[in-house]
């Protein structure tokens, strides 16, 4: 037993207390650093020495500095944060999308309603140039609003692309820093102590990276961390990094997709494989909500334009001589986009050809379609998938589905070719008014009814509608009732020569129209035997307003989204203002849903982060208490030295 034992005890105690104080100071200085884990000095009792009178302890050793870190909690916090970031970024973009479908007088639906309402004034004064000018001005307003909404959607697409590029650049930077940290951690791992600060930095880089893109990690034996994204693609392996890139989506050149560059070869990342993060939120918005919004807007534009142009063609305008009305609107075309990976010939042009033509714009649906060869290999059969609801149908070339005709080939595409059919997606962007001359509005109907003055029954004309452009004004239809119960005989004669073209008999019941020569005649009252009605060419088209009345009936007509009925024929659908209200409500529901999802995932992320920081975070009060504790133990250890020194002095004095 010597004084030096006491000295070494005191020295070791002082060193231990000093390192504990230093670590506490380190904790206090880093209390507000993101991702910092509280560090703690591990003190261990030194082994006792046997001295014949018992084991005497040798003081305290500092074994190592550990950090308070739970890998599970950190991983949970990172994953929850990643989901919350995805929902938040999608909500952000959806809020901007909502402004494309405003309520009230700014909306596209109101403009369309006002255009059709202006037709009421046209039916009151069909020859008035000022009234016609108002109608054309309203038509221009409708076209402008649709085009502006389409342009806003284009701006959102642009924004998605730019934001993706910025985030991808950050991802690459973070991946590079993770690789560098991997290298430094691996190089000091052999020293036997854990490099706490480096590990903290790497964990924080991982947390930042998982905000952008959800990832999984696997720890290797040499201390490096391998980072996988998108269901198994490796982003960081040891010290090697693969670059994430923003590519042009091969199905649609206006959209962006993610690619992973693997030694010169770029691998496409599929959206379904990406889990969470801001980037995934942006891509989900681009491929889901933005596409749906475009399709809904385009469906409205195509249906309104198609039906209005159709009604124009059924009437007579004010030109001299009067002709059938020219189209008022033009919309963006229906396109079939070939996939960028489709077969090309030597000159770089695509071998296969798919054409898309709109047959009935009122039956177009708000969806895009995927076309490919039949997977079972049947020749001439193609598989059409409706992307909005996933309906798969087999079609042949020239089939008419959902209001459009699909012509496949010639030349026929290869078996591996894919096409994206967009019947309505670009319709709103390209909408414009193409009629500028007020005389071009077709307010007059080519056929007019007349009732013979010698009729004895109470029959009168309720309405005459021209329903087909094939109605021939050179033919006069004479309908004569042959009984009191509605039997009639009809004749179609040439207007000039009175030569008989065709004749026949029919039976009329109240409420059903008499259809001949492309028109439908509805009668009120009860005609008696011998009563005669005739439908012939309008003699004075300048002051006739039959077609203008038909335009006003379009306010209630089902224009949008009709479909085949089980009983045959076409029906269903909604009017233009109802369809806009539905589209606007659809976007509103998405925003509401995204908002509640973002609230929930945000709350989960906050909770997970609170749990993680409960384990790893610094509490300043706790550190203050520790400071006092270690200060006391330092003072006590210094006292040991002082006592040891006085013992030595005593020994020296005694000698």
């Amino acid at each position: 037993m010597s004084a030096s034992a006491l000295f070494s005890l005191g020295t070791k105690a002082m060193a231990a207390s000093y390192s504990a104080l230093a670590t506490t100071g380190h904790n206090i200085s880093n209390a507000n650093v993101k991702g910092y884990s509280r560090q703690q000095v591990e003190l261990a009792t030194a082994e006792g020495q046997f001295s014949g009178a018992g084991f005497y302890g040798k003081g305290v050793d500092v074994s190592t500095v550990t950090r308070a870190h739970d890998a599970f909690l950190s991983r949970e916090a990172a994953t929850a944060g990643s989901l919350a970031a995805m929902d938040a970024s999608r909500l952000d973009m959806l809020r901007q999308l909502e402004s494309v479908f405003p309520t009230g007088e700014q909306g596209v639906g109101h403009a369309a309603g006002e255009f059709l309402n202006a037709m009421v004034d046209l039916s009151a004064r069909p020859t008035d140039a000022a009234t016609r000018q108002v109608v054309l001005a309203r038509a221009g307003e409708v076209a402008d609003r649709f085009a502006a909404a389409g342009a806003q959607l284009d701006v959102l697409q642009q924004e998605v692309q730019e934001t993706l590029k910025a985030h991808v650049a950050q991802v690459n930077q973070l991946a590079a820093s993770i690789a560098e940290l991997n290298q430094r951690i691996a190089s000091v791992l052999g020293l036997g102590h854990s490099p706490n600060d480096l590990l903290d930095q790497r964990d924080q880089a991982l947390a930042d990276l998982s905000q952008k893109l959800q990832l999984t990690t696997v720890e290797a034996d040499d201390g490096t961390l391998t980072v996988f994204i998108a269901g198994g693609q490796r982003l960081v392996l040891g010290t090697q990094v693969q670059a994430l890139t923003v590519e042009v989506d091969p199905t649609d050149a206006t959209r962006s997709a993610l690619g992973l560059s693997d030694s010169g070869f770029v691998r496409q990342l599929q959206l379904q494989e990406l889990g969470g993060g801001t980037i995934t939120g942006l891509l989900r918005f681009q491929n889901g909500d933005l596409v749906d919004a475009r399709a809904q807007l385009g469906q409205l534009a195509a249906a309104l334009s198609g039906k209005v142009n159709e009604q124009q063609a059924l009437g007579l305008d004010l030109s001299d001589p009067p002709g059938s009305g020219a189209p008022i609107f033009d919309v963006g075309p229906a396109v079939a986009l070939p996939n960028a990976n489709n077969a090309v010939n030597g000159a770089g042009q695509f071998v296969g050809r798919v054409g898309l033509t709109v047959i009935d714009p009122t039956q177009l649906l708000a969806s895009e379609y995927a076309l490919r060869a039949d997977p079972l290999g049947a020749p001439g059969v193609w598989q059409l998938t409706r992307l909005q609801d996933g309906l798969v149908r087999s079609i042949g070339s020239g089939d008419i589905v959902d209001g459009m005709r699909i012509d496949v080939g010639p030349p026929a595409p290869a078996a591996t070719d894919r096409y994206l059919l967009q019947p309505v997606t670009r319709a709103a962007n390209g909408m414009k008014r193409v009629l500028d001359d007020v005389r071009g509005l077709a307010a007059a109907s080519p056929l007019s009814p007349s009732v013979a003055t010698t009729n004895t029954g109470t029959g009168s004309v309720a309405a005459l509608r021209v329903v087909s452009p094939a109605a021939d004004p050179q033919l006069t239809a004479a309908i004569r009732f042959t009984s009191d119960t509605g039997d009639y005989s009809w004749e179609l004669r040439d207007r000039v020569s009175n030569a008989l073209q065709s004749s026949g008999v029919g039976s009329w019941t109240a409420g059903t129209p008499i259809a001949l020569n492309g028109f439908e005649l509805e009668l009120n009252g009860v005609p008696r035997s011998g009563d005669a009605f005739s439908v012939g060419k309008t003699l004075y088209p300048a002051s006739n307003n039959g077609n203008a009345l038909a335009f006003t009936a379009l306010r209630d007509a089902a224009l949008v989204g009709r479909g085949p009925l089980s009983s045959g024929g076409v029906g269903g659908g909604s009017s233009i203002t109802d369809a806009y209200a539905a589209a606007m409500a659809n976007i509103g529901v998405r925003v509401q849903g995204a908002r509640s999802t973002a609230d929930i995932s945000g709350a989960v992320a906050t909770q997970a982060e609170a749990s993680r920081s409960a384990k790893s975070g610094v509490n300043l009060d706790e550190e203050a208490a520790r400071l006092i504790q270690y200060q006391q133990s330092y003072q006590a250890a210094a006292k040991i030295l002082q006592i040891a020194q006085s013992i030595f002095d005593t020994l020296l004095d005694a000698a």
């Binding site: 209390a31 409500a585 976007i587 409960a614 203050a624």
Partner: protein, 398 residues
């Protein structure tokens, strides 16, 4: 659970921001007065608002159409009113012309005045509606619909009515042919006329129906023969003789056959013939006035011929007058209908606006108390933050 300093500060800041956002949102609602500013605030209510707005805009447009129809029908009704007054004057002139003591010159004067009234009536029939169309143009006419030609006034327009959409289909024009050219000739059932080659001693009145169930609708003829001072008459039906053959003629006595009764006055000459034919709905008012004025202005006519002119003329003028009255009543009925449609449109507009307000507007009382609650919540959060952050062990370790 351990509270860590950084985390607790971060959580408090988050909370403060959230409360501030809520307060801002409540303030926005109060200043705009709307509960639904965007579709995502309440999608179902936003869709209701959209539909209510469309209904309201439509009601406004329909009311414009209704105003156009009302002004057109008011003009039509006024025109027909003016026409009936003119016809009343014609009738008075014609009655005056029946005065036996008038000379040819005086009757010619009356004929000239009737011609003047006829021109006035033609200009009423061709009256425009002030915006390029014609009130009586029917389904459309280019120039004035009534054209005075060599064979009388003809109608160059399409029959029927032009209509405007105003909720219901309301009329904008009136059928000119039906108004002016389609009265029922004769007394409504049959027409009596003296044959052209008759002598100047007898005239036939308008006749009347005594037994509607015995009417046949055939053409009848009454032939008079004067032999040895005895005047007899025979009634022929469709050219064939009937039971009434060579009956003695008594002036002023009614001749009845097949439910009809006519009276011949004066002294018929031998071979005089009077035709009784079914009436047709094609009596033109202008033709009547032309005929009457022409006959009055012709000189050298006997009193019986003048009496025939006056009798047939009054009959035809009354028929045309009745037709005009009926058309005027129809125009008045249209105006009544327009009034009720207007009432309905105003109700539709009001209910659409109410619906919109219910779906979209803010309940002020609720919103104000909401705002107060949020304000005090924010206040509490701020004050507790300032209290808590001061408490730290370092304060006590001086």
């Amino acid at each position: 659970m351990r509270i860590t300093t950084a985390n607790s500060f971060a959580a408090t800041v988050d909370n403060l921001q959230q409360r501030q956002q809520d307060l801002q949102l409540a303030q926005d609602r109060l200043t705009s007065g709307k509960r639904v500013a965007r579709a995502s605030d309440d999608p179902a209510a936003a869709a209701r608002v959209e539909r209510a707005l469309a209904t309201s805009a439509r009601a406004v447009a329909d009311q414009r159409g209704l105003q156009a129809s009302r002004s057109a029908m008011q003009q039509v009704e006024a025109a027909l009113g003016g026409a009936t007054e003119a016809m009343q004057q014609v009738r008075e002139l014609l009655v005056a012309a029946g005065n036996g003591s008038y000379s040819d010159a005086e009757r010619a004067n009356l004929g000239a005045r009737i011609r003047g009234l006829r021109e006035q009536l033609l200009s009423i029939a061709n009256r425009g509606d002030g915006s390029g169309g014609y009130l009586f143009g029917g389904q459309g006419s280019a120039q004035p619909p009534f054209v005075d030609g060599s064979s009388g006034v003809s109608y160059r327009g399409a029959g029927g009515q032009t209509e405007v959409q105003a909720g219901d289909l309301l009329p904008m024009t009136h059928d000119g042919a039906a108004a002016w050219l389609s009265a029922r000739s004769g007394n409504g059932v049959f027409v009596t006329a003296a044959a052209a080659g008759n002598g100047s001693g007898a005239w036939i009145d308008a006749g009347s129906v005594v037994d509607p169930s015995a009417l046949t609708g055939d053409d009848y003829r009454i032939d008079f023969t004067v032999a040895a001072g005895v005047t007899t008459y025979s009634v022929l039906r469709n050219g064939a003789a009937t039971a009434q053959l060579n009956l003695p003629y008594v002036a002023g006595q009614a001749i009845e056959f097949d439910g009809m009764a006519v009276t011949v006055q004066g002294a018929p000459a031998n071979g005089d013939r009077f035709d009784v034919t079914p009436s047709t709905p094609q009596l033109s008012l202008f033709d009547v006035l032309d005929r009457v004025a022409g006959e009055l202005q012709a000189g050298g006519r006997s009193s019986a011929q003048v009496a025939q002119t006056v009798s047939s003329g009054l009959r035809d003028i009354d028929a045309s007058f009745g037709s005009l009255q009926m058309q005027r009543a129809m125009a008045g009925e249209s105006l009544n209908r327009i009034d009720s449609v207007e009432g309905r449109l105003a109700e539709t507009q009001l209910s659409a606006q109410t619906e919109r307000s219910l779906a979209e507007d803010l309940d002020m009382v609720q919103a104000l108390s909401d705002f107060q609650a949020k304000q005090s919540g924010y206040d509490a959060a701020l004050s507790t933050y300032s209290l808590v952050q001061r408490m730290s062990l370092f304060q006590y370790l001086k």
